[in-house]
C-alpha cells in the first residue's frame, strides 16, 4: 500500500484515496516457464532466440 505521505506529496488527499502498488518481474516468470538460465537473452536481439517464441 502506498504510504499516505507519498499521496500527500503528489497532491492527493490520503484520507479520501489510497493506493496499491505492485509489480511482477515478468522476465523472471518467463525464465521459469521456459527454463532460461540467462536474463540477457531477452535483450540480445538474436533471432535464433526470438524465433523460439514465434
Amino acid at each position: 500500500m502506498i504510504h499516505p505521505n507519498v499521496l500527500k506529496m503528489a497532491g492527493i488527499d490520503p484520507t479520501k484515496y489510497h493506493g496499491f502498488a505492485w509489480g511482477g518481474g515478468i522476465d523472471r516468470l518467463v525464465m521459469l516457464r521456459y527454463g532460461l538460465n540467462d536474463m540477457r537473452y531477452f535483450e540480445s536481439g538474436n533471432l535464433n532466440f526470438l524465433k523460439e517464441f514465434n
Partner: protein, 779 residues
C-alpha cells in the same frame, strides 16, 4: 539469520505443526529461506564417563575404558591431551556420522578400528569441532556432571534434535527487534494469536522497558570513577558502560547449552566472556562489547576510564581485533579512551584493548549508534559481523542497561559489577497512535471484532485503551517502525493474515485504458503479420555506438555513475541499436529479416519538462536487412510505414528530408523521406548513409525508419484503435491491365464491395504494354 526452533519454543507456546509454523512465519512476518533439518544430526552420540585412562607409551594417545550406560565398558583410543579418568565426554558410537560432516558430500562415518596394530578403538570421544560447536580442536569436550548421566543421548541433554530457520535478513530490515530471539518470539506469538509475556520465560532481558528507563534515569548521575561522554547525540543515542571486576576464576569450560545455541545461530563459541556477550545479542538484538579495563585505562593515561564517543578525524588509524590496521574517515564513529580511538563503534573492537586470558577487569559496553554512519562504515571497511548487521537496522535505546545487567549475571561466577555509567541524553517518549476499529476494518476490507483487534495488538505488547471502538495505542519502545494509524492497520492485517481477507472486486470503475499501450499492442500485431521481429535493447549505450550512426555524444544525456563506459550515454534514437543487432543477426547468418523496437528516447534539444526532468518520447525504430537482394530497399521500409499507418487510418505523405534532428542523421537524405501527416511530422524513412552502413558492417540491402509514436497516437482514429484488433480476411490479388490504375481500382471495388482495398505494387515490364497491379484486399 538463523533461528533454532527449540530455542524459540522456550519463549512462545507453539500450537501448530512445524511446517505450518514455517508457512505462517513466511506469510506474516519474514521470508524463510530454508529450514535446516538437524533432527538426526546427533544420532548415536552419547554422554559417557571415562572410567580409566592410560597413556600408551611413546605416543600422544590414551587408552580409555568408557561407561556408556551399558553393562560392559567400551574401549576407545583417544588422542586428546585433556582426556582423564572421571570426566564426562561425548562419545560418537561406531556407525554414527561425525556431526560436523553431515552436510558434506561424503559424511564421515565413525567405525571400529585397530590403532597401532593392537589397540581396538570403538567409536571416538569428540572435540567441539567434530560436534560442530566451534573450531576448538585442542581437546575433547567435557560435560557438566550436573547435566547428564552416562548413556544419555547427547541430543536429549542439549536439545539438539532441532530445526533451524534460515531467515532472509533483508526482508526484516525495518524490524530491529526481530533480530533478537525475544522479538522474533513475540512476533510468532502474535501470529499464532498467543499472548506474549516475558514474565514466565527464562532470562528476562528486555522484559520491562519502562522500569529500565526509570532505573536508568536514577543511575545516570551516580557514578564517580567511570565517565562516558557522547560528543554528538545524533551518532549515539545511548551508551551504557559497566565495569566488572574479577573476584574469582570463571567456572571450568564445560560444553554448555549456550554453546549449542551460538553454534546453531551460526556463531562460534570462543570464551566465556565473548560467548556471554554474543548470547545476549542473539537473545535481545542488542550487541555488546567487552574491553579489557586495565588496557583501556592505560591507553587513556588517566587513573580511571574516560569513555568518549565521537566521530573519527580524517587520517586517524586504528588496529582492529583481527589485527588489520585501518585508516578511519570522518563518518566512522569511534570509542576513545580519553582522546585515543580504541574501537570502531558497532563494527569491531580494537587490538589495544582486547580481552585475553589474563584479563582481570572488564568494561562492558551496551550502546546504540547511528545506523546511517554504521552502514557507511560497514561498506567502507568491509565489516559484516553479526553485531553490525543488528546495529544497521537501528537498534532502539531502551534496553541497553538491562541487557548489560543480564550479561553481567551470566558472568557472575567470575566477575562482579563494580560501577555503571549510563549516558542517555535524550530519553525518547513512547509514540502514541489513535485509530478506530472502523478505520481498520474499512481499509482492510475486513469485519474483525473490536475484541479481536485489541487482543491481536496486545499480544505483541502494544498497550491499547478501547473507548467505544476508538483505540488509543501506546507503541512499545522496540517498535521503531510504527508512527501513524496506517502502520497499526497494516499490523492488524498482517498479524491476522492477509490471506484471511476475502477477495472482492473493487467497487469502483476500472481506469481508462492506456491508449499508448493499445497503440503498441496494435503496432505489434501489424508488424508480426508482416514478418518483423520485435527486439529489446538497452537504453544506455556507448559513445562508439552513437558515432557509428554519425550521432554526437554531446547531444546525449550522460549517466554520472554508469556501471560501465559501454552504458554511459542515454540513447537519442532507436535505430542505431537496431543496426547493431542487424549486424549480429546477419553474421549468424540470417539472410532476410526485419527488426523493430518500441522504446523511450531522449534528445537534449527537446529540453526539460515542468519538473525539470528530460522530456522523453516513445519512438519506434525499424530496420530491414537482406544479404542477397539487388532491389531498392527504400521501398521495403516505406512499405512497412505505409502498412502500419494505414491500419490506423493515417494518411501520410513523403517529403524531402530537411530536418537535421537525431533520427534523420543516419539516413542518406537523397534516398530517404520525411513522413508527414497533414501538418504533423512523424519521422523519417529510407536508406542509410554508406558510411553508417559500413560502420555497422552490413550488407547493401538495408533500410529503415524511425517514427514518433506519441505523434502517431495524436493522430490515431479513435474508431479503430481502442477496440480489440479487428479480424478481417485478407488477400492479395494481381490484375494485368492496359488501362489506368483508377480503372483497375474501380473494378476491384466492384468485385469486393465494402472491402478495404489498397495497392501494393505496380509492375510493367520494359517490352510489355500491360502493367500488373497488385492489390491488398481486406474484406
Amino acid at each position: 539469520m538463523r533461528i533454532s526452533l527449540n530455542w524459540l519454543k522456550k519463549y512462545v507456546n507453539i500450537s501448530v505443526p512445524d511446517d505450518e509454523l514455517v508457512r505462517l512465519i513466511g506469510a506474516r512476518l519474514v521470508e524463510v529461506e530454508g529450514v535446516i533439518d538437524e533432527t538426526h544430526k546427533y544420532d548415536n552420540i552419547y554422554v559417557v564417563r571415562v572410567e580409566t585412562a592410560e597413556k600408551i607409551p611413546d605416543t600422544h594417545l590414551t587408552l580409555c575404558q568408557i561407561n556408556n550406560g551399558g553393562e560392559d565398558l567400551v574401549q576407545v583410543v583417544c588422542g586428546a591431551p585433556n582426556v582423564r579418568a572421571g570426566m564426562l565426554a561425548a562419545w560418537i558410537a561406531p556407525g554414527a556420522v561425525v556431526p560436523a560432516s553431515v552436510h558434506e558430500d561424503a559424511p564421515f562415518v565413525i567405525g571400529k578400528r585397530k590403532m597401532l596394530g593392537k589397540y581396538e578403538s570403538n567409536g571416538m570421544l569428540a572435540g567441539a569441532d567434530e560436534l560442530d560447536f566451534g573450531d576448538d580442536h585442542s581437546g575433547i569436550v567435557e560435560i557438566d556432571p550436573e547435566m547428564a548421566q552416562p548413556g544419555a543421548p547427547l541430543a536429549d541433554v542439549f536439545e539438539l534434535n532441532d530445526l533451524i530457520l534460515d531467515i532472509e535478513n533483508k526482508s526484516l530490515t525495518h524490524r530491529p527487534d526481530c533480530f533478537g530471539l525475544i522479538g522474533f518470539a513475540r512476533e510468532v506469538a502474535g501470529i499464532l494469536g498467543e499472548e506474549f509475556s516475558l514474565d514466565s520465560r527464562p532470562r528476562p532481558a528486555g522484559a520491562n522497558p519502562r522500569a529500565a528507563a526509570l532505573r536508568n534515569a536514577s543511575k545516570s548521575k551516580e557514578n564517580s570513577s567511570l565517565r562516558v561522554e557522547i560528543s554528538d547525540t545524533s551518532i549515539c543515542s545511548r551508551y551504557t558502560a559497566m565495569v566488572l571486576v574479577k573476584h574469582g576464576e570463571l567456572k571450568k569450560k564445560y560444553l554448555t547449552w549456550q554453546d549449542t545455541i551460538l553454534s546453531k545461530s551460526g556463531m562460534r563459541p570462543v570464551d566465556r566472556i565473548v560467548d556471554a556477550t554474543n548470547y545476549m545479542m542473539l537473545l535481545t538484538g542488542q550487541p555488546l562489547h567487552a574491553f579489557d579495563y586495565d588496557k583501556f585505562v592505560a591507553v587513556g593515561g588517566k587513573e580511571s576510564p574516560q569513555i568518549v564517543v565521537r566521530l573519527a578525524r580524517s587520517g586517524e588509524r586504528l588496529v582492529l581485533l583481527d589485527g588489520k590496521e585501518i585508516e578511519l574517515n570522518e563518518n566512522d564513529i569511534v570509542i576513545c579512551s580519553g582522546d585515543k580511538p580504541v574501537a570502531l563503534a558497532g563494527a569491531m573492537g580494537g587490538a589495544l584493548t582486547a580481552i585475553d586470558e589474563n584479563t582481570r577487569n572488564i568494561i562492558l559496553e551496551s550502546a546504540t549508534f547511528s545506523l546511517y554512519n554504521l552502514r557507511k562504515t560497514q561498506m567502507e571497511h568491509g565489516i559484516f559481523s553479526e553485531a553490525i548487521t543488528r546495529f544497521t537496522k537501528g537498534q532502539p535505546a531502551y534496553q541497553t542497561l538491562v541487557v548489560a545487567e543480564d550479561c553481567a549475571e551470566m558472568l557472575s561466577d567470575g566477575f562482579a559489577v563494580e560501577s555503571v555509567a549510563d549516558a542517555y541524553p535524550k530519553l525518547t517518549a513512547d509514540e502514541a497512535v489513535v485509530v478506530s476499529t472502523s478505520e481498520i476494518n474499512g481499509l482492510l476490507g475486513t469485519n474483525y471484532s473490536d475484541d479481536l483487534i485489541v487482543r491481536t495488538l496486545e499480544n505483541v505488547n502494544f498497550s491499547v485503551r478501547n473507548k467505544h471502538g476508538q483505540l488509543e495505542i501506546t507503541v512499545p519502545a522496540w517498535r521503531t517502525d510504527i508512527h501513524i494509524k496506517e502502520d497499526i492497520i497494516e499490523e492488524v492485517g498482517r498479524l491476522l493474515g492477509y490471506d484471511n481477507i476475502v477477495p472482492a472486486l473493487p467497487r469502483h470503475a476500472t481506469a481508462e485504458k492506456n491508449k499508448m499501450m493499445t497503440l503498441k499492442h496494435n503496432v505489434r500485431d501489424i508488424m508480426k503479420s508482416y514478418g518483423a521481429n520485435e527486439v529489446l535493447t538497452y537504453s544506455f549505450i556507448s559513445e562508439r555506438l552513437l558515432k557509428k550512426a554519425g550521432l554526437k555524444s554531446e547531444e546525449s544525456y550522460k549517466i554520472i555513475n554508469s556501471i560501465s563506459p559501454d552504458l554511459q550515454l542515454i540513447r537519442q534514437t532507436i535505430v542505431p541499436s537496431l543496426l547493431e543487432k542487424a549486424y549480429v543477426n546477419q553474421k549468424v547468418p540470417f539472410d532476410r529479416f526485419a527488426l523493430y523496437e518500441i522504446n523511450k528516447v531522449y534528445q537534449k534539444s527537446w529540453g526539460l519538462d515542468f519538473e525539470g526532468v528530460p522530456i522523453e518520447k516513445m519512438h519506434m525504430g525499424f530496420v530491414v536487412a537482406e544479404r542477397k537482394n539487388a532491389e531498392t530497399p527504400y521501398y521495403k521500409a516505406k512499405f512497412y510505414v505505409e502498412k502500419l499507418l494505414e491500419e490506423f487510418n493515417i494518411a501520410v505523405k513523403f517529403l524531402p528530408v530537411k530536418s537535421t534532428s537525431a533520427e534523420s542523421v543516419p539516413f542518406e537524405s537523397k534516398r530517404a523521406a520525411e513522413i508527414w501527416s497533414q501538418d504533423a511530422y512523424l519521422g523519417v524513412v529510407g536508406e542509410f548513409k554508406n558510411s553508417v552502413r559500413r560502420n555497422y558492417k552490413l550488407a547493401e540491402y538495408l533500410a529503415g525508419f524511425e517514427i514518433d509514436l506519441d505523434a502517431v497516437l495524436g493522430l490515431v482514429n479513435n474508431k479503430k484503435v481502442g477496440n480489440d484488433f479487428e479480424v478481417r480476411e485478407k488477400l492479395d490479388e494481381t490484375v494485368a491491365t492496359k488501362g489506368t490504375f483508377a480503372e483497375a481500382l474501380m473494378e476491384m471495388e466492384q468485385k469486393y464491395p465494402g472491402a478495404k482495398i489498397s495497392p501494393v505494387g505496380i509492375y510493367q515490364a520494359e517490352n510489355s504494354t500491360d502493367k500488373k497491379i497488385t492489390f491488398h484486399i481486406e474484406k
